[in-house]
């Protein structure tokens, strides 16, 4: 771990301004991901801006009938919130499918969206990684790829986004609210929040330098059955090989997002029109253009089969 300076921000806008002002600054909230990466010198911030005191830890009803989830709401609290459990069961289920009780107690809503990939090559500083060290190359391509992405990949990176929560947020059409260093606020639709790797896999979101997430808002509830199905080699405490987040309405229409397959939560709205025709039709459109490796090609039939089980469960 490199030495760093530290400050506690006084307000969200002050935090954003401080981050823009200081080269190499990072926000820290729960620290469940950042601190590990700092110990390995995968992240080497020169300055940490602690946002824990910014009172962004409330879940409020919006005037539109949705929910506004403060950036610092802990995963445990979010999953347990009565309104979330009643109206956004998908989100609660996705959260509880991830990490462990201890981590969820610490991890925040914004931090969860911003967690870094679990690609093993990203974690080994002896190996080239365009995400860790831009331009150094990608050791994962041609290496051990079983857990890695099958779609939306590039020649520079085949990492996945590890979050379960973000997959549910994507299906729920969440909006990421931020404050910029100049003090202005904006809302970023979740669909535009996470980037595909392209040539710059080190840039993972559309946040501007210094921009701070203050909340995530959910539109008013859409009803339907909410199913989050996470497929993994062991029963708990593992990242998804594939996960399916689905909202299915009584008439068979609905929404589907996938985890474990791409550099961001994967959703193709056009594919959802196929939902009444079944999993195969949806999966074909969702995964059109996929470029799996020999080791992770199983994820394509796995998505289709898992989605099939989810749709069957929704009917049942």
């Amino acid at each position: 771990m490199r030495s760093f300076t530290y400050e506690r921000a006084g307000s969200p806008a002050a935090a954003a301004a401080a981050a823009a002002r200081t080269e190499g600054a990072r926000f820290i909230a729960g620290g469940t991901n950042l601190l590990d990466l700092m110990k390995l010198e995968i992240e080497t911030p020169t300055h940490l801006i602690d946002v824990n005191g910014l009172a962004l830890d409330k879940i409020e009803t919006t005037t539109e009938g949705g929910l506004r989830i403060g950036a610092l709401v802990r995963n445990t609290d979010l999953a347990a919130d009565e309104r979330v459990r009643r109206d956004y069961g998908l989100l609660s289920r996705a959260l509880l499918a991830g990490a462990s009780g201890q981590l969820r107690n610490k991890a925040t809503t914004a931090g969860n969206l911003l967690q870094r990939t679990r690609c093993p090559y990203f974690y080994d500083t002896n190996q080239p990684c365009n995400k860790r060290q831009p331009g150094s190359g990608c050791a994962a391509i041609g290496g051990f790829t079983r857990p890695l992405a099958v779609i939306g990949t590039s020649d520079a990176c085949i990492a996945t986004h590890p979050s379960d929560m973000a997959v549910a947020m994507r299906a729920l059409d969440a909006t990421v609210e931020t404050v910029r260093p100049d003090g202005t606020a904006r809302g970023i639709p979740i669909a535009e929040f996470h980037r595909l790797p392209g040539d710059t896999p080190d840039i993972e979101t559309t946040l501007a330098p210094g921009e701070l997430i203050t909340a995530v808002t959910l539109p008013k509830p859409v009803g339907g059955k909410h199913i989050y199905r996470k497929v993994r080699d062991r029963a708990s405490y593992a990242f998804a090989l594939v996960s399916v987040a689905a909202i299915v309405q009584p008439d068979g229409t609905g929404r589907v997002a996938l985890g474990g397959v791409a550099h961001r939560p994967w959703r193709v709205e056009a594919a959802e029109t196929e939902m009444p025709r079944g999993a195969k039709a949806v999966a074909e459109r969702l995964l059109a253009g996929a470029k799996p490796t020999d080791e992770n090609a199983f994820k394509l039939p796995l998505v289709e089969r898992t989605l099939g089980a989810v749709l069957a469960e929704a009917k049942g």
Binding site: P120, G143, F144, R229, V231, D233, A235, F298
Partner: protein, 727 residues
């Protein structure tokens, strides 16, 4: 004490303390966090500095330059040790690669430097500032690619295997593979080293004190008597801590360089690429049988790889002993691989060997139209099949299988695979035989009686979480006729008599037999002191009695105490009798019909392993081993990067081992057994038996559930999907 004739009745047979499911005597220290583990021994020596290890970034090649200048100037840095400045280092007897590499590199993450600093954080940060240039050399990293380029070693052959196999009316010829496995114990390797002139003391975490002391002496060129190793508590080992590793060597070198005590713990990624692992195997098994199910030919070949000078994984050894059959062959073939060093991991040989053999037996039973249990019973043998004049000392495999079948409800199993459905789950049952040899090795102990009647046992035996403290206390309590709370046990110190140590499931039987021997001597001294006739003196209730006369045991001690020391040493009983332990493993699994995820529903192990010294600690050993078997069957695999030559998933997020949710229900049954051939304790090992066969029982259950036969471990969902029905 020389043990060369079968045991007769002795004080252990009273079973007043031995054989009882008593709680661990060290349990309170563990649950209160006060058991002193190596890295936490802040109090044993003052002024400890911190060492951080740097590993090689390449698998094979040479360091061309190593720039320490920036690191040397970093805050808090006291010294940096490299091969350039460490002085001459030899290689220990139990090491294949050198523990401090450079300029030649033998494997990825081979240690090449130790940074010593005032704090851990300073040492770690400075370690990142060392700049190393390498020249890579070509290496071999893919066992499957090179296995055929290496010839056979260690063949065993009886009869005419080739002819009998060709002639057999029913046969199978299958190839199986098991991946590299990591011990993944909770506590990483850790040592604190302190020099006092020429004398070196190391507080460490190690299973085999005497081996490691010897190899440390060899490596450093220090007289063995000048080294003291202290390892009273060990947070898991599984074979990963059998040997001297770089934490100990580098702590000693760092302490010498810094002129003060140094502590070193290996970071988690070093567990995978710096220390040892269980090597991957490729195995070919051929079994031929008559139509009645009697095996006529059985052949097992295993390929594994290791660094130059290393050894093979003996995956064929159980096949020489487990089933009858007149015509047999085994062969181990060793390829040179430039991956990190392969070595022993829990039940080396039998664990991966049975993962293959017991699938083959399941396949063969199906081909013969026999129940898998009946097929195994039919081919039971009570003698060494290669040498029928040599009987097993005890062999209750058939009883294990029969008892297990009753307990598990084996009669409910549908022999047709893929027929039982429970909601989204395809449900199946599997069975496998468990087998692990019982190894005998000399073991010493010292026992001291003091004037308060307390018996203190000292031996360099270790407790790696197994329960050694407790069974040794039970042994001494039984022998000396005192309650458990009048026994103190001190372990893991090279100042104590040399024991068997912990490994190969030999620790319990041998170390308690050594304590037995020392207690026999102490009893003789007591009897003499108190003027009894040794033949009829009874030790019970803290009294020594004969006829009407009873004297408190404590009186024999006087003020100075009474000390006896002895060791158990073995004659040729192991040559005259085959000593092994047996089990039957039963597993029920559910396989998600859509996703192919396998989840264990219940497990049963029935074990026949001699006298069970403490059913509670023995059960803990067996359920832990069964859990490790679940890992091997379903998820554990060190992923090899075949270009760069290293294990990629080198942390506990990437290398998955079972979590609580994977293990819903386990049951263990110990058959009532004593084995007078094995030792005066009539006990055998059991801690590795619990692993042997579990993987195959799971693979067989998955086959029974789905009809998909996977011969390539781990049995992950990607290998099942294509064979599953439409969801």
């Amino acid at each position: 004490m020389r043990f060369d004739t079968p045991a007769t009745t002795n004080p252990i047979d009273q079973l007043r303390v031995v054989g009882k499911p008593v709680d661990r005597i060290d349990g309170q220290l563990k649950t209160t966090g006060t058991a002193p583990y190596a890295y936490e021994r802040h109090d044993v020596v003052a002024n400890q500095a911190y060492g951080y290890v740097v590993g090689s970034a390449i698998a094979k090649g040479r360091i061309t330059s190593i720039d320490l200048s920036t690191a040397r100037r970093a805050p808090g840095v006291l010294a940096i040790v490299t091969a350039d400045n460490a002085g001459r280092l030899e290689k220990g007897r139990f090491n294949t690669a050198r523990l401090l590499g450079g300029p030649d590199i033998e494997h990825y993450d081979q240690a090449i430097a130790l940074v010593v600093a005032e704090t851990f954080e300073q040492a770690r940060a400075a370690a990142q500032l060392i700049r190393v240039d390498y020249v890579r050399a070509e290496g071999a990293f893919d066992l499957a690619d090179i296995k055929d380029s290496h010839g056979g070693d260690d063949n065993s052959a009886v009869g005419d295997f080739a002819g009998a196999f060709v002639a057999a009316p029913v046969k199978i010829d299958g190839t199986y593979s098991t991946p590299d496995h990591s011990h993944a114990m909770m506590e990483p390797h850790a040592s604190i080293a302190a020099w006092d002139g020429d004398r070196l003391t190391v507080w460490t975490s190690n299973q085999m004190i005497n081996w490691t002391k010897g190899d440390l002496a060899t490596t450093l060129g220090v007289a063995s008597e000048n080294i003291r190793l202290i390892s009273p508590f060990i947070g898991g080992g599984f074979g990963g801590k059998l040997f001297l590793r770089c934490d100990t060597v580098l702590a000693a070198l760092g302490a010498r360089a810094a002129g003060r005590p140094v502590k070193v713990a290996l970071p988690r990624p070093f567990m995978f690429n710096n220390t040892t692992h269980r090597p991957a195997t490729i195995q070919r098994i051929r079994i031929g049988a008559a139509r009645d199910g009697k095996i006529t030919a059985i052949g097992h070949e295993a390929w594994s790889g290791d660094l130059p000078g290393g050894g093979p994984e003996n995956a064929v050894q159980q096949t020489r002993l487990l089933y009858a059959g007149a015509n047999r062959m085994t062969a181990m073939r060793l390829a040179v691989l430039d991956l990190p060093e392969g070595n022993a991991m829990r039940a080396p040989g039998e664990a991966p060997g049975l993962m293959a053999l017991e699938i083959a037996m399941d396949e063969m039973a199906e081909k013969l139209g026999l129940d898998p249990i009946e097929f195994r019973v039919l081919n039971d043998t009570q003698v060494d099949p290669e040498n029928p004049a040599r009987p097993f000392s005890q062999r209750q495999l058939v009883e294990c299988l029969r008892t297990g079948a009753d307990r598990f409800g084996w009669d409910k199993r549908n022999g047709q695979p893929g027929r039982l459905r429970d909601g989204r789950w395809l449900v199946g049952m599997g069975v496998a035989a468990g087998f692990r040899n019982n190894l005998l090795t000399a073991s010493g102990a010292r026992v001291r009686l003091d004037s308060s009647g307390v018996v203190t046992v000292e031996t360099d035996m270790t407790d790696i979480g197994t329960g050694s403290y407790t069974i040794i206390a039970q042994t001494a309590a039984e022998m000396m006729g005192v309650p458990l709370d009048k026994v103190a046990v001190r372990l893991g110190d090279s100042a104590f008599p040399v024991s068997a140590g912990s490994g190969g499931q030999w620790g319990a039987n041998n170390s308690t037999a050594g304590v037995y021997a020392a207690c026999v001597k102490l009893r003789e001294a007591v009897v003499q002191k108190l003027g009894f006739n040794s033949a009829d003196a009874v030790f019970a209730d803290s009294l020594v009695s004969s006829g009407n006369r009873g004297v408190p045991l404590a009186e024999a001690a006087l003020a100075s105490g009474l000390v006896a020391e002895d060791a158990i040493e073995y004659g040729d009983l192991a040559r005259r009798y085959q000593q092994s332990t047996f089990a039957a493993h039963f597993v029920e699994v559910g396989v998600d019909v859509a996703t192919g995820e396998t989840r264990i529903r219940r497990m049963l192990a029935v074990c026949a392993a001699g006298r069970i010294l403490n059913p509670k600690t023995a059960r803990s050993q067996v359920i832990g081993a069964m859990t490790m078997g679940v890992g091997a069957a379903l998820m554990e695999e060190l992923a090899v990067d075949k270009r760069a030559g290293f294990f990629v998933n080198h942390d506990l997020a990437g290398y998955e081992v079972p979590v609580h949710a994977d293990i819903p229900h386990q049951e263990v049954v110990f058959l009532d057994e004593t084995d007078p051939i094995s030792s005066p304790m009539k006990a055998k090992g059991v801690g590795e038996l619990g692993l042997c066969g579990v993987g195959a029982a799971i693979a067989n259950a998955i086959y029974n559930a789905t009809g998909v036969r996977v011969r390539d471990y781990p049995v992950t969902l990607d290998k099942l999907l294509a064979g599953l029905p439409e969801a």
